[in-house]
Amino acid sequence: MSADIAISVENLGKSYFVGHQSSREERYTALRDVIARNVKSLARKTRDMFSGRPIVQGDEVEEFWALKGVSFEVRRGDVVGVIGRNGAGKSTLLKVLSRITEPTAGRIRIRGRVASLLEVGTGFHPELTGRENIFLNGAILGMTRAEIRTKFDEIVAFAEVERFLDTPVKRYSSGMYVRLAFAVAAHLEPEILVVDEVLAVGDSEFQKKCLGKMKDVAGHGRTVLFVSHNLAAVRALCRTSLLLSAGRLAASGESGAVIASYADQQDGSASFSRSPLSIERPHVIAASVVDITEGQQSAQRLLKVRVTAHSSRPMSVEISALVRDNAGAPIGFAPVGSLMKRSPAQLSEGSTTFLMTLDVSSLALGQYSLTMQIGRPLGEMFDSCPDCLSFDLGSEHFSEVMSPFRQDWHVGSVLFASTIERVQ
């Protein structure tokens, strides 16, 4: 291992055993079945215990690889982003790297002290005061008391909780709680820092402050591994990135390129479908982008989306589409059926199909994803399919006079219709 490599990972794998309820199984009907099943399960659990295996729920056990064959190297002082969809293995990778859990295969070599920040406020005790929790949390994250004492004022100032230092944290507002927790973590000074999705807390003002602090940390030559779904933050902080997909390393290298291949991975989904679930709440079973056409007015572009929803009984719902740009930032929201007296979004029993039309005239050229959601009008959400659809707004859709405005100019994704006039 050469001296400027901080982390070297070879062929890393981590497997878990997961249980299923076998599908051919009949429903619980007679008491006899229930007893027979319980006796069988007791026998199996006892067998498991004597052979030292953990108890797995369900009657079919399957080995599941959360990480498989992952190899990469991180140079000292690099700030590396780790991206991927939910369940791609990002958090497992961090847990293995920070020694919380043992790998099943492969080898990791680490040069330097590792501190991991997988959650803000790990170990905070609600009964203790803010002051006491700073010391407690600091020690849990690996700081010595002397270290915490020298940084104490800085931490308190960063968290903006001076007045409540001697109040038990169970009386804190959730914002104060999170600020205090992040403030402690932000003042850690290990050689290698492993961070999981912790910037997604607090209000936007505080998030900005956190991002600034992270930049600071990165600037001080520390090695940082940073997991986030906030692609803009990854792009801003990390020069290089890793893309995980279903437990494997799908791409690595310069952040821009890795983020682009992540966007590609999510692409190719102009339609989405799944079989109806046996749940009672209405849910989306199919959705597809029909086309993008010219509207009646000039320069008007309309996106047509077909959505099929399944419901166990007739009801009136709100169907909405959340639009995100290729950096994953939400840029708009189209709720349909909520603001009218008699909602047009009426579900019958079984499946109902709708055609939604969205005016996308003001969007910049580029890729977008759609999250389809069903909820009670202006109320609780029943179902959400995150980023299940995507569409590409190309220049062919803008043949008109207006000069096409592009997403990759990095000035945003919405073009405002605006006018200007001269006043004296």
């Binding site: 953990p54 920070s98 919380i100 043992e102 170990g123 009964e127 020690a139 010595t144």
Partner: protein
């Protein structure tokens, strides 16, 4: 760049950590802090607070003195007042039983820490035992008051008391480690502990002197490690009035060492899977 190269840490499946005991020392601050946290929280939002640590053993002593001393008319040791004899046994018993229950529940109770941060897990149950030690020290006040009340002056044996405190500590730590590790995997053990503690109160010589046990059963009786601990305490506090049954005492020590070995072995063997199972 800095001249000193930090050491390379290798993580591989199934390889025992070479630096484990060194790490344990490095994380000693965490040990203090966790123990301090549990102590600080123990009597928060109670009215009489620490007095709880005094009231419970005191009332138990009165009940035991009446039931075993007055009603059952069991003999005391030498000419020692019965209440004093009971309390000298109650003190280590309370320490042992709270330490055992606290340490065996400790890993589950700190599940959020275990799944989010690395540290040698041995810290958690050990810190839990230390917490019960504080209660033990507080109830010591009652012992001193009792000694003064009965005008009883302990002999030179009292200087050996710390040795027996250590013995009580190890006696609870061994099974505690064993059960807390198993508890992570099989939650059945959570129901075993209250039972052991309740049961143990009657099979250990807490309310009576171990000299009432017939001579031929004495050695077998000492398989219970608490017997050795309690006898040791009585010998140290009550002095010549109490006699230490040496073969039994050594057997108790052996049982304690065995459980300690078993507990550490079980704990170390399962430690790396805690985060996945808890």
């Amino acid at each position: 760049m800095s001249a000193s190269q930090p050491e390379v840490l290798v993580i591989e499946p199934g390889i025992a950590d070479r630096h484990y005991w060194q790490d344990l020392w490095r994380f000693r601050e965490l040990f203090y802090v966790l123990a301090w946290r549990d102590i600080a929280v123990r009597y928060k939002q109670t009215i009489i607070g620490v007095a709880w640590a005094l009231i419970r053993p005191f009332l138990t002593m009165i009940v035991f003195t009446i039931v075993f001393g007055r009603l059952a008319k069991l003999p005391t040791e030498g000419a020692v007042p019965y209440a004093l004899m009971v309390f000298a046994g109650l003190l280590p018993w309370q320490f042992f039983s709270t330490a055992l229950s606290e340490s065996s529940a400790s890993l589950i109770g700190n599940a959020n820490l275990i799944s989010k941060v690395y540290f040698p897990r041995l810290i958690v149950p050990t810190a839990a035992v230390v917490v019960s030690f504080v209660d033990f020290l507080i109830s010591f006040v009652i012992l001193i008051a009792l000694l003064a009340w009965y005008r009883f002056l302990p002999g030179w044996h009292i200087v050996t008391l710390p040795l027996f405190v250590l013995m009580a500590f190890l006696a609870s730590l061994g099974p505690g480690l064993w059960i807390t590790a198993l508890n992570v995997k099989y939650r059945d053990f959570r129901y075993v502990i209250p039972f052991i503690v309740q049961f143990g109160l009657y099979v250990s010589p807490v309310g009576f002197s171990s000299s009432v046990v017939p001579e031929e059963w004495r050695l077998l009786y000492s398989l219970n490690p608490v017997v050795g601990v309690i006898d040791g305490f009585r010998w140290a506090i009550l002095g010549r009035q109490s006699t230490l049954y040496l073969p039994g005492f050594l057997l108790s020590c052996g049982v304690i060492v065995f459980f300690l070995w078993l507990g550490i072995r079980q704990f170390r063997g399962m430690e790396k899977t805690f985060a996945d199972l808890v």
